[in-house]
């Protein structure tokens, strides 16, 4: 909301400077986003009267004017404007004046007035001109250069035009929160300023007598008959008032009004529409003017689009921006008995627009329910200054006053006269609101004792009626323009806001100091992250919205993709099924910026449809590409491979204490089509698949223009987190007796996995076998084609004694024989 301080000054006399005003408003919840000084686009210009106009002796189209600028003097001016007439009041620029629009283009360019050369005496076709009469363009008000700007006849001669028009102003831009519809007017803001600074509010004096038609004029004018209003949807329009005006002459509004509209960010149109907008800005009541000639039967029907006569339905309507709008049966319309005239509270129709030929008007001032306006405006994508206000609730009792005010302005600027009785239909009067306010509740919310007298005074300043209602209780009638004030918390906010939040002390709550319960989830996440970092991966964060094509390439671990109903773009049309595309994107981003390697992980949520509903899953994913561990200078580096990332994952699982429950097995050929089919593992936790580990498919690597192998892993964390929560601390001392190692080498079929060999050995083993590990795998040479030799180290240990060679040899011999038989393996000597 734009607030020109000159306009504010009409309703409240403020001594504080602009900085202080802005600070206080901001702290009270009316955030001042900017305070812009508006300087006039001219200097040395005065109000003057044209006394005499004579034809220039040497030019047909020029006149010689005798100009009286009061105390400034009398001047002889050459003027080419066609509208110059004797007796008109006009702006006169004397010699030395500066005019921002005196060049060609015109337009307002505030900073550079000092750069404009001063007006100099000129001899035009042999006649000396001692200044000039100015058009709007020359003064920087508009692009209008058709003639001299006509000023009101009561303008004081010799007055500086800048001060007469209050062209030197400051305009605040204030962010109004959705609960403060009452502050969408100059008067509403003035009320806030008065309440904040303890000043008296002077509301505009409005002659409501204007609403009464003058004797002999009743029901005169085009259309004749008395106005009537039918409200078929009183639950959406509890109050509708209309006023007939006749005899208007459409033309431009007075310059002061146009200037105020423009300072408030509105475009001036004509003296009727401008007056309705002016009153809306001033009082907060949106108004609409219909050309009465186009209203059938002088009758207004307020109804839904679905309530057209004879059970019909209005399906579309052309608004005055000349756009055809599709209607919904629930939309509220203003209609006559034949046709719709306006979409209530949002925009009028082209069919009843006020134009140059209009003479008779119907002025509308109504209260529409916020929800209906909001719903229709949103559906149509059509926001107007009116709908913006109706949505936020206008003054429930302000309709008649605004009607009187606009009638007064139209009378003054367009010559319109009230031509009939106002109609005032209020099928649903607002219920009287009375709130019993317990002062104790206010103090309990704020944590500070506010004296009863202060509460009364502050609420009264906001327009509430306050009465005593017993000890520590007040009966409060909130004003009709504050539907947001209903209970103790609402009043507490007003008091805190006006008093200043700084007046409330900052104290710490008294709380029982019980020990905090450990947060296993947070502990797990923290450990999971920091161990990944310790293993050499950098944490990244990527955005959950991705392209459908990426979800198809990287479908995660089951479930369909979750589409976003209203995505920012098709490329961000779905929620990720997997963290992999984000990591690959980050890899590509870094490679494009000369990174030689990228090793990263992300912990985040993925989303998948499960049983028709979108669900979310916590995942950890990691990527590794390029040299992983660099040796010292001159020593070889270790490149990222399946083995390095598997090592990271294994060490991570060991550190989490979950390694014993996790297995890796070869993934099915078609299980993850983005992975190399021969280098992809399924990760199992207690036998259940929880993720994958593998090398990116060479075709994908080509698509992503990767030159080094890239390895990926992704795990669902739910089981690991749940496991992490289990208490399982079990500590033993180090073994007291030495272990004995015996190696064996088995020649097995090439596709027998290490896990199968170890499982066979464990099955054959005695309790003395402590561990068994593969330390070499060998193919070729003396090994038959299609076979491989696997060398394993077995460690034997007893808890209670040192094993003898003989005992170990016997046990190992049995183990070797058992494993050999189970695997159908040969023993390699």
């Amino acid at each position: 909301m734009k607030l020109p301080l000159s306009w504010l000054g009409e309703f409240v006399r403020l001594e504080a400077d602009t900085g202080e005003l802005c600070r206080r408003l901001t702290l009270a919840g009316l955030e001042v986003e900017s305070a812009e000084r508006v300087a006039p686009g001219f200097s040395g210009v005065f109000v003057a009267r044209v006394l005499k106009v004579e034809r220039h002796p040497n030019a047909d189209r020029l006149n010689l004017c005798d100009v009286d600028a009061g105390a400034v003097g009398r001047f002889s001016v050459v003027c080419g404007a066609p509208n110059v007439t004797p007796g008109m009041t006009a702006p006169f620029a004397r010699l030395g004046a500066r005019l921002i629009g005196s060049g060609h283009g015109g337009g307002q360019c505030l900073a550079s007035l000092q750069e404009v050369p001063p007006l100099q005496a000129a001899v035009i076709r042999g006649v000396r001109s001692e200044g000039m009469l100015c058009s709007e363009r020359e003064l920087g008000f508009s692009e209008d250069h058709a003639g001299i700007l006509a000023l009101p006849d009561d303008a004081p001669l010799g007055a500086e035009l800048a001060s007469y028009l209050r062209a030197d102003d400051t305009v605040l831009d204030i962010a109004i929160t959705p609960n403060r519809g009452d502050c969408l007017s100059i008067l509403g803001l003035a009320r806030e300023v008065a309440a904040l600074f303890g000043l008296k509010l002077k509301p505009p004096a409005i002659k409501s007598a204007l609403l009464m038609p003058r004797a002999g004029q009743a029901n005169a004018g085009n259309g004749g008959g008395a106005l009537s209003v039918d409200i078929l949807a009183p639950e959406l329009c509890p109050h509708y008032a209309g006023l007939p005006i006749s005899g208007v002459q459409i033309g431009p509004s007075p310059i002061w009004m146009r200037r105020r509209l423009e300072l408030c960010g509105m475009r001036a149109l004509n003296n009727v529409v401008d007056a309705t907008n002016y009153v809306m800005l001033e009082l907060g009541q949106p108004l609409h003017a219909f050309d009465r000639a186009h209203i059938a039967a002088s009758r207004i029907v307020v109804r839904r689009a679905g309530q057209a006569p004879g059970g019909a339905l209005d399906r579309e309507f052309v608004t005055l921006d000349n756009t055809r709008r599709a209607l919904d049966p629930a939309d509220l319309l203003i209609a006559d008995p034949e046709k719709p005239l306006a979409i209530a509270g949002i925009m009028g129709g082209l069919n009843s627009e006020v134009g140059a030929a209009t003479t008779d008007l119907l002025l509308e001032s109504a209260y529409f329910e916020p929800m209906t306006i909001s719903r229709t405006a949103r559906r149509l994508g059509l926001k107007s200054e009116a709908s913006y206000r109706f949505e936020r609730a206008i003054d429930r009792a302000g309709q008649i006053r605004a009607l009187a005010r606009v009638a007064e302005l139209i009378g003054a600027s367009a010559g319109g006269k009230v031509s009939g009785a106002a109609v005032d239909a209020e099928p649903r009067p607002a219920p009287a609101r009375q709130v019993m306010l317990d002062l104790g509740a206010v103090n309990s919310i704020l944590g500070v004792a506010v004296p009863g007298a202060e509460v009364r005074q502050r609420l009264r300043a906001l327009g509430a009626k306050v009465k005593s209602a017993g000890a520590r209780r007040l009966m409060v009638a909130p004003p009709p323009f504050r539907p947001d004030l209903n209970e103790a918390a609402d009043f507490a906010e007003e008091i805190a806001r006006l008093k200043g939040l700084a007046e409330i002390p900052a104290t710490l709550p008294e709380r029982a100091s019980t020990p905090a319960t450990p947060n296993d989830y947070r502990g797990f996440m923290r450990a999971a992250r920091e161990m990944m970092v310790g293993a050499g991966l950098t944490e990244v964060k990527t955005i959950a919205f991705i392209a459908p094509a990426d979800n198809q390439r990287y479908p995660g671990m089951g479930g369909g993709a979750v589409p976003v109903t209203n995505p920012l773009s098709a490329e961000l049309g779905e929620l990720r099924l997997s963290l992999a595309p984000g990591l690959l994107g980050a890899l590509r981003f870094n490679l494009n910026r000369q990174a030689a390697a990228f090793h990263a992980f992300e912990i985040g949520k993925v989303f998948a449809m499960r049983g028709g509903a979108p669900g979310e899953h916590e995942r950890l994913a990691a990527i590794s590409c390029g040299d992983f561990a660099l040796g010292a200078v001159g020593q070889p580096a270790t490149a990222a491979s399946f083995w390095t990332l598997k090592g990271v994952l294994e060490q991570w699982l060991i550190a989490l204490g979950a390694a014993a429950r996790v297995e890796f097995e070869a993934a099915g050929e078609a299980e993850h089509h983005f992975l190399h089919p021969g280098r992809a593992a399924r990760v199992l936790f207690e036998g259940e698949p929880i993720g994958y580990l593998g090398e990116l498919h060479p075709a994908e690597a080509v698509r992503l223009e990767l030159t080094n192998p890239c390895v990926l892993t992704e795990l669902d964390l739910v089981h690991l987190i749940a496991y992490g929560f289990q208490p399982r601390q079990q500590v033993t001392g180090p073994p007291r007796y030495p272990a004995v190692r015996r190696d064996l080498a088995l020649v097995v079929e090439r596709d027998v996995s290490a896990a199968q060999v170890i499982a066979a050995i464990r099955e054959a083993a005695s309790p003395l076998l402590e561990s068994v590990e593969v330390f070499d795998v060998y193919e070729g040479g003396s090994i038959a084609p299609g076979k491989k030799s696997m060398a394993l180290a077995c460690r034997y240990r007893a808890k209670d004694r040192t094993l003898t060679d003989e005992e170990v040899n016997r046990t190992h011999g049995e183990l070797v024989e058992g494993a050999r038989r189970r695997l159908g393996a040969e023993l390699r000597q």
Partner: protein, 350 residues
């Protein structure tokens, strides 16, 4: 025999001069002390010595042997020391060359900031509770006092999902989720991601982190004054003890009264600069007393219970704290940016 021993001793010691080479030393050791060496020969001939003289000769033999042995040892020690000194000189490293690069990653700045904030609240007695990103209208809006079609909903442009679900626009759903299942007293912070329909840009991201916090207790036990106390302490703990704070009235549908918290601009310390638009203040969070309608929706009687709530953006705090001005930095994951952060979260609690 005595003479023979003396001669043997003299000859050996003469040979084992300071400059004796390793070969000479070894030759002497073999000739004199070796199995068929001179000294062994002398000892074999002990029988020839008269019984009365034997102890004295025996003593002399031992003495000569010890003397030669210790001489040999000293020489060998000297040789080893010289060899070591030679090799040390040769095996010198350029200690300024880098070590083997054992890989170590970094934590994301948003994690660091989030963890630090959670640590502060945890140390003030708040529990940390994670809640869901995919939410229904009730928990994201209705229970938080956003009526349908209310303009306040437009403050948060929502992403909708199939099945009548949506992506939460704030972590305030955590307030409802926790309160629905538990009774006061409660002091909880809910961290997590939220989503709003903003393009990724310098100033905004469609996905961003938030921390929602709330404290509820019997009416009068948790007041606006306590809200100010707790959040002022937070601001000073997070931004530094010199930070000035101010509370500014505002509007949120789910709090009444509502307030935003500003801190003195970190760049100009309140003097006014371009970053704070000359105001000297920077907004960091929204807060307020939980709206009675919200309490009613979770089945609390507003006459019995009251509390405060607050919410703050993680990226915003990170931008302010790190002094950077581009939201995209957090989601591009440029290693040259990420590499500037530590590998561990600072533990602030004592």
């Amino acid at each position: 025999m005595r003479e023979q021993l003396e001669a043997l001793r003299a000859a050996a010691l003469a040979e084992l001069g300071d400059r004796a080479s390793a070969e000479q030393i070894e030759a002497v050791r073999v000739r004199v002390l070796g199995r068929g060496g001179e000294l062994t020969e002398v000892m074999r001939r002990m029988r020839e010595v008269p019984a009365a003289e034997r102890p004295a000769i025996g003593q002399l033999v031992n003495q000569v042997k010890r003397e030669i042995e210790s001489r040999l040892e000293a020489l060998q020690e000297r040789q080893r020391a010289a060899a070591l000194a030679r090799s040390l000189g040769e095996a010198r490293l350029d200690v300024t060359l880098p070590g083997a690069r054992i890989p170590r990653g970094r934590l994301h700045p948003l994690t660091l900031v989030m963890e630090q904030m959670l640590d502060i609240f945890a140390s003030m007695g708040f529990e940390v509770a994670a809640t869901q990103d995919v939410e229904d209208d009730f928990h994201n809006f209705e229970a938080l006092n956003f009526p349908p079609d209310h303009p306040a909903r437009e403050m948060q442009d929502t992403f909708f999902l199939p099945g009548g679900m949506l992506l939460r626009t704030h972590t305030s759903n955590g307030q409802i989720r926790v309160m629905q299942h538990r009774k006061p007293p409660l002091a909880v912070v809910c961290p997590g991601n939220c989503y709003r329909r903003d393009e990724l840009s310098v100033r905004a991201s469609p996905m961003f982190g938030q921390i929602e916090g709330f404290m509820v207790d019997r009416a009068g036990r948790v007041t606006m004054a306590h809200l100010k106390g707790v959040l002022s302490e937070f601001a000073r703990a997070f931004y530094g003890p010199q930070t000035a704070v101010r509370f500014r009235a505002s509007f949120f549908p789910f709090t009444e009264p509502s307030a935003e918290l500003d801190i003195s601009c970190l760049l100009c310390a309140g003097a006014g600069c371009r970053v704070c638009k000359q105001s000297g203040w920077t907004e960091i969070l929204g807060s307020g007393m939980i709206h009675p309608n919200v309490l009613r929706k979770v089945g609390y009687d507003p006459a019995e219970y009251q509390g405060f709530a607050f919410g703050m953006g993680v990226e915003r705090q990170a931008l302010l704290k790190l002094g950077v001005d581009d939201m995209r930095l957090f989601f591009e994951n440029d290693l040259r940016f990420l590499g500037q952060f530590p590998s561990f979260a600072a533990r602030s609690a004592s």
